[in-house]
Structure formats: structure tokens, C-alpha cells
Amino acid sequence: MKQELRILIAGVGGQGIHGFVRVLQQAMTEQGYEFISARYKGGAQSLGSVHAECKIFLSAAQANAQQSSQLIPGTLDILLGLERWETLRFLPFCHANTLIVADTFTEFPPGTKRSKDLPSIDTYFANLTNPLISRDFIQLAQEKGWSKSAVPILLFNEAIRSLGLTQYIQPLKP
């Protein structure tokens, strides 16, 4: 079993990343795991880059050690992407086997002229060699009658199921 789980959640302002981190922390604490997170907000605006870096300590030894709340690039276990350009922005935090779970929601940075040399987002995703789960989680949430705030929870649950961690971590309830 891994000693700790390193998760980065990336998206844009208004997608509920900070709220999700609180839910995740509450759930992990209730399940008996220590948790630490660092949150970065994109200024007081919608559509700014927002991300959170989280560690879930699955072993008591790790939990008791003094820990940085920041993640070192190349050490990520799970990248949860709520917006596709932001998902790609945090690739340097991934190693070759980092699991990427990405929503298909796409919002090109507003007010930015798109360079003709910039490949399409689909091309970028097609070239990814990491384990990747990419789907329309917003639609999935709507089909279940849940609000958009359930989307990061769905991504997280998908990740722990895919990594076979459900014997240690119970999925979150949307």
C-alpha cells in the first residue's frame, strides 16, 4: 500500500475546487486519515487558474511526520482536471504513471489570442501516454440529478476506483 496519496486538482475559478478540498478533507479525516492541502486561487475573478495540492496520509508514520503542503513536480499520484487546458498546465507535476482523470469541459483563457501554432486541445489529449480517464462528468452529474459541485467528487471517486484504492478509501458521496 502507498504511504501517502498525492493529488492535484486543477480548474478555473467558479468550479468549486476549494469547496471540494474541504469536503475531501472532512471525509478523509472521518475515515481516519490525516490530510494536508495547499490552495491557490486565481485572484477574485471567474475563469482564473485555480488549483489545490493535497496529500492523504495512508500510514500513521507519514501522518506524524512534519510535511509540506506543496507537491514536488514529478511526484503526483492523481491529477484531477476540471478543465482541459488547466489539466495540461499541471502535467509537470505528473510522472509517466500518474493517473489523469479529466472532465471534458474546455474553456480557452478568455481575452487571450489563440496562437496559430498552438495545437488543438484534442491533439494534446490524444498524445498523452499516461493512464487517462476523460469523460463528460458534468453531463454525468446532470444525469444523476446532481449539481456541478458534484463533478470533482465524481472525478475523485473514479480515480480511487481505477487505482484499486477503494479497499482503503471509501468513495465520497455527491
Partner: protein, 605 residues
């Protein structure tokens, strides 16, 4: 007046971030007065404390000050009566509060006083970064830098006690990383204590003029010299006889334990974590450092501790002291950056390799959909030719999109710099701008100053009815007769305009720009995040769309207005994303081809 401190049960509070921990800590330590000027990253303390105050009927008095100078003076006054007081501001606010805080050590305080300052190395939640550690030395007040929400919570209890023991305020600096970091926090049981509040006259202490100020300065220096010898707030890990010592404070303390595991040379060093950063506890440090051959001071920003160490232990230590020669004095100093630097220094291979980065466009700041500033900036830019116009920008939401204004420095730099430029740029079209928060923070004085100095200037106040950027605190503009106020200052003209009717504003800017004297245009429009009745009505009843057959692709709405709700589809056609559109109607008003229909279901409000 008396206050009974709250009696709380020993309990665990799960998942507090740094701001919340400070609010809980203040409440449980019996804070009676809270003064602040809102600013990230510490803007989260006040709303939580207000909520707790209501929940626990704690009888805390709040001062939502209009600027940090007023907040600091008010906090000092409350403390002088014996009330436990917390004063909160961000790093740049400390510049504004510095005037009274230079003297708080001379006068001393009675009720415990904590001065919480949010620092932001890396400018992750601020317009800029600056190192305010030097103020600790200038004010000559004890400075603490707790490195976790738990430490922040504990620091409130211990800090108030220490403050009352010394008769001095305690500075608490907290970085954005720690403000927004969440961990579990254990709270403590508080025993109720009754306090009587009374201002006791003491002219020798409180009247700091001339030789009395000099005398009190001497007393403060003596008190702090004793404190430095008798108080040490530090933690030491690792063998004390190791040849290498590493000193950390703030964020670097948070990161070093993990860094140690990757670099063998650091595994057995003497690690000194400075929690009490100023004054440097030289008496406690001497036995730890005197036999070292090398000392590495790991800290962000200017190198405050390294400076103190070299100054105060000069000729006492024989070790080679390293610091800013290794680590940059700018930016956040993330854990990976520190690790890379130390790996290179010790000749250790960097242990990680991430995937290569892709050329993803940066998300530059934008106005939110429906933001009143969108129409305001559009109007200014349309009124004044691009090659000739000069726009003085100011701090706040109106400064979010870069490059709309010609400068952004500090609160009220818009009108401040503009009035210095005005006599010399008669060939150019000069306007200054600022939000309602800035206006009441100090802009009011700047307007009066411009009037009294006979400056020719058009100043626009963007009033979105709240201090939007820092948490939508109530704006004084909702309570003050600002038109009467400005007219009484002697402005040549005062005009009001709606941010959602940019054509009218454009005409006003053109007209006023031709005139002599100080002309103020008050541009109103509710923040899109706090919609007023008009906005709510429009959101419920309008569904605007762009008629592709009329659209001439002039890009006025897409590029010049730059509303984030307008995008371009794969066919190159412009369209309105109704899931984002706030129905402000500005795009409809400015479209020269009448291609944007408001899609009103009902007659316009």
C-alpha cells in the same frame, strides 16, 4: 464595561485553514476588539470571527476600517483600555499602518494586542510581493511566524499572554500558503476571566513628543534587549553537535523536513526552526551555533534572519553563513525550487523528473462576466484615442486585466501619479481611475489635494457597491452622500454615470477631458457577484444572442469589450455563452451593427 471570556469545551475542530484557525484562536483567547482592513491572504479571518461572535454571543466589537492607519489607531485605543485586540491587514497595508505602529512600542499597550499581517511571497493572492519583515525591527516588536493552522491557533493564546506580559503588541506574519493550508486543529479549553475596561491616564507613556518620545524609545530598546536574552521561541531537531546548521522560518520550515529526506548531507544537520523571528534570540542561538562550520539560512524574500544573524553575531560565530547567495530574494520559493537549489549545492542528483510542460496560454486576469468595469474601461478607451490616452490605474478588481491601465502600483496611485503628470502631458489625454474602496481608503484626500493644487484632471471612481476583491465587504458608498462630499471639496464638476451604459460614459469622458480643473465622474454598477434587483431581473428575463447574419466580425464585443461570455466558435462566428452571460446588456449597446439582440422575454426594466 466588562467582558466575560468564553468558556469552551475542550474539543477537536476538524479541517481549519490558517485564517479560520486565527479566528478560532482569537475567540478562544477572549479577543474583545477586532480591527482590520480587508486584504488577501488574511481576508478570511473577519467573516469567520463575525460568524463565531454571533454563534457564541461573544460581544466582540468590530471595526471594519476604511484604511489600515485608522484600524491600527483604533486597535491601539481599544488595547489601552485593557481589551484584548486583534489588528489584521495584508503586507502592503502595513505600510499604511506604519505611522502609528512606529509609536505603539513607545506608548505600550494594556490589553493583549496581536497584529496579524498576511504576507504573500510569490504574489499568489495579491497584486504584488514585498518583504515587511523589516518593520519588525523598525517597530521593535516581537515577531512570530507560525507555520501551521494549529500553530496559528496556539499563537493567539500564547501571543495575547506574552503581549500583556511585555506591555507590547505581538506581530504575527502568516504567508498565503499557510493562510490557505488546511489541517486538523485541536482547540483548548478556556477558563472564563472577567476584565474591567478602563483607560488609565499616563502622560509619560502616551504623549510621545520631543524628549518624551526619545525617553520612551530608550525604554523600548532596553526592554527588547532584555527580551532577546530571556525569550527564545525555536525548535531544534537533529544532533546539536553537527557541523552544519540549517535555520528556517515560515514556509521554509514547512518544507525542510521533506527536503531533508532527499539530501543525505542534510539528514543529520542541526535544524533550528525559528518561530519567534524577531528579535533574534542570540542567547539561545549561541550555544547551538558557536561550533558550527557552516550555517544555511533558508528563508523567502530579502533574507531578514540572515541579516540579523550576520549583524548581531558578527565576530561571535566562525561558521560560514549562507543564505541569499543560494536562494532567490523574490518569489514564493516552492519546495521543489528549494530542493533543486540544495541538490545542486550538495552535489546530489535531483530525484524527480516530471512530464515536460506544454505551451499552455497563461490565464491573464479578466473582468468577470457582467462586471461593471468591463463597460467602464470600454468607454474610456473609446473616448480617448489609443496613442494619446493615459489611464492611471488603481488596486482592486478594476486592475485585474493587465495592460488596460498604464500603471498599477498601490492604493490611490491612479490619481496620485496622475496629478503629478498632469502639468506635463497637456498633449496627451490623461484620466485617473480608482474603485470606491480606494476612494474612501485615501482617494478622497488625493482628490482634495488635486483641487487645492489646481490640477487639471478627470478622475473616475468605479463604484461597484462593495469592496469586491477582498470578500465583498460593505462599501462606504452605500452610506455616504458622495456627490455632496465631492462638491464640498471644490471639484470643478461632479457627474454620475452607469457602467452598464458605456455610450453615455464615453460622451462624459470626452466632454470633461476638454475642461480645466478636477472633474470627478462617479461610475456606478453593482458587482456581478452581488447582483442588484436590476441585474436579477435581467438575468431572469433576457437571453441575448448574436445574429450571425448581421454580425460584421468587427470584434468590438469580443476584443475591445472583452467580455468572457462572448466566444468564437469553430466557424469563426461570435456567440454568447448563456451559461456565463449575466445579461448586463453592454454588448447590445455597443454593437455598431445592431447584431446583438437582448432576447427580452418581458418589457425592459
Amino acid at each position: 464595561m466588562t467582558n466575560t471570556k468564553l468558556q469552551t469545551q475542550a474539543q477537536k475542530v476538524w479541517a481549519l485553514n490558517g485564517n479560520e484557525a486565527l479566528a478560532y484562536g482569537a475567540l478562544h483567547a477572549g479577543v474583545a476588539y477586532f480591527a482590520h482592513y480587508p486584504g488577501s491572504p488574511v481576508n478570511g479571518i473577519e467573516p469567520v470571527l463575525k460568524q463565531l461572535n454571533t454563534q457564541h454571543a461573544a460581544q466582540i466589537t468590530f471595526n471594519d476600517a476604511l484604511n489600515e492607519h485608522v484600524a491600527a489607531c483604533a486597535a491601539m485605543g481599544a488595547s489601552m483600555t485593557g481589551a484584548r485586540t486583534m489588528l489584521v491587514m495584508k503586507h502592503v497595508g502595513l505600510n499604511i499602518a506604519a505611522d502609528p505602529l512606529n509609536y505603539v512600542g513607545y506608548a505600550g499597550i494594556k490589553g493583549g494586542m496581536l497584529i496579524v499581517v498576511g504576507t504573500d511571497p510569490g504574489a499568489n493572492s495579491s497584486t504584488g510581493e514585498e518583504d515587511v519583515h523589516w518593520y519588525a525591527k523598525q517597530f521593535n516588536l516581537p515577531l512570530f511566524e507560525p507555520t501551521s493552522p494549529q500553530a496559528l491557533y496556539d499563537c493567539c493564546r500564547d501571543g495575547f499572554a506574552l503581549s500583556e506580559e511585555l506591555g507590547l503588541p505581538i506581530l504575527i506574519f502568516v504567508t498565503g500558503l499557510i493562510c490557505h493550508q488546511s489541517t486538523r486543529v485541536q482547540t483548548h479549553e478556556i477558563t472564563p476571566v472577567k476584565r474591567a475596561y478602563y483607560f488609565e491616564k499616563d502622560r509619560d507613556r502616551y504623549i510621545n513628543v520631543g524628549q518624551r518620545a526619545v525617553q520612551n524609545h530608550r525604554l523600548l530598546l532596553e526592554k527588547m534587549a532584555v527580551y532577546a536574552q530571556t525569550h527564545a521561541f525555536l525548535k531544534v531537531d537533529g544532533p546539536s553537535n553537527a557541523p552544519l546548521a540549517v535555520i528556517t522560518r515560515g514556509n521554509t520550515t514547512l518544507h525542510f523536513a521533506e527536503i531533508q529526506t532527499y539530501i543525505p548531507q542534510l539528514a543529520n544537520c542541526t535544524w533550528i526552526q525559528l518561530n519567534g523571528v524577531y528579535p533574534l534570540p542570540t542567547a539561545a542561538l549561541l550555544p547551538l551555533l558557536q561550533d558550527k562550520t557552516e550555517i544555511i539560512v533558508m528563508e523567502d524574500q530579502d533574507g531578514f534572519v540572515e541579516y540579523l544573524l550576520k549583524m548581531e553575531m558578527y565576530n561571535v560565530l566562525s561558521a560560514k553563513i549562507q543564505g541569499k547567495n543560494l536562494f532567490p530574494a523574490y518569489g514564493e520559493l516552492r519546495i521543489n525550487e528549494l530542493l533543486e537549489i540544495l541538490c545542486a549545492y550538495f552535489g546530489v542528483a535531483y530525484p524527480f523528473g516530471g512530464l515536460p510542460s506544454l505551451p499552455i496560454p497563461e490565464r491573464l486576469g479578466t473582468f468577470c462576466e457582467g462586471c461593471p468595469h468591463t463597460g467602464s474601461y470600454f468607454a474610456i478607451e473609446q473616448a480617448l484615442p489609443k496613442q494619446e490616452r493615459i489611464i492611471g490605474g488603481d488596486i482592486g478588481c478594476s486592475s485585474l486585466p493587465p495592460f488596460r491601465a498604464d500603471w498599477l502600483l498601490c492604493m490611490n496611485a491612479g490619481i496620485g501619479l496622475a496629478q503629478g503628470m498632469a502639468p506635463f502631458v497637456s498633449g496627451q489625454k490623461l484620466v485617473s481611475t480608482g474603485g470606491d474602496g480606494s476612494f474612501f481608503h485615501g482617494g478622497l484626500l488625493a482628490v482634495l489635494n488635486a483641487v487645492q493644487n489646481k490640477v487639471n484632471l478627470v478622475h473616475l471612481v468605479f463604484d461597484n457597491k462593495s469592496v469586491a476583491m477582498t470578500g465583498h465587504q460593505a462599501s462606504a458608498s452605500t452610506q455616504v452622500a458622495y456627490a455632496d462630499l465631492l462638491r464640498s471639496l471644490g471639484v470643478a464638476s461632479f457627474a454620475e454615470a452607469s457602467a452598464f451604459h458605456p455610450k453615455e460614459l464615453e460622451a462624459l469622458v470626452r466632454e470633461k477631458e476638454q475642461l480645466e480643473g478636477v472633474h470627478v465622474i462617479w461610475v456606478s454598477g453593482a458587482c456581478a457577484q452581488i447582483p442588484d434587483a436590476r441585474s436579477n431581473f435581467r438575468r431572469a428575463n433576457y437571453a441575448p444572442q448574436i445574429d450571425a447574419s448581421k454580425c460584421a466580425s468587427c470584434t468590438l464585443c469580443y476584443e475591445a469589450l472583452a467580455c468572457p461570455a462572448i466566444d468564437q466558435n469553430d466557424l469563426g462566428q461570435f456567440q454568447i455563452d448563456l451559461s456565463r452571460c449575466m445579461r448586463c446588456g453592454v454588448c447590445h449597446e455597443i454593437c455598431p451593427n445592431d447584431a446583438i439582440d437582448l432576447g427580452a422575454k418581458k418589457p425592459q426594466a
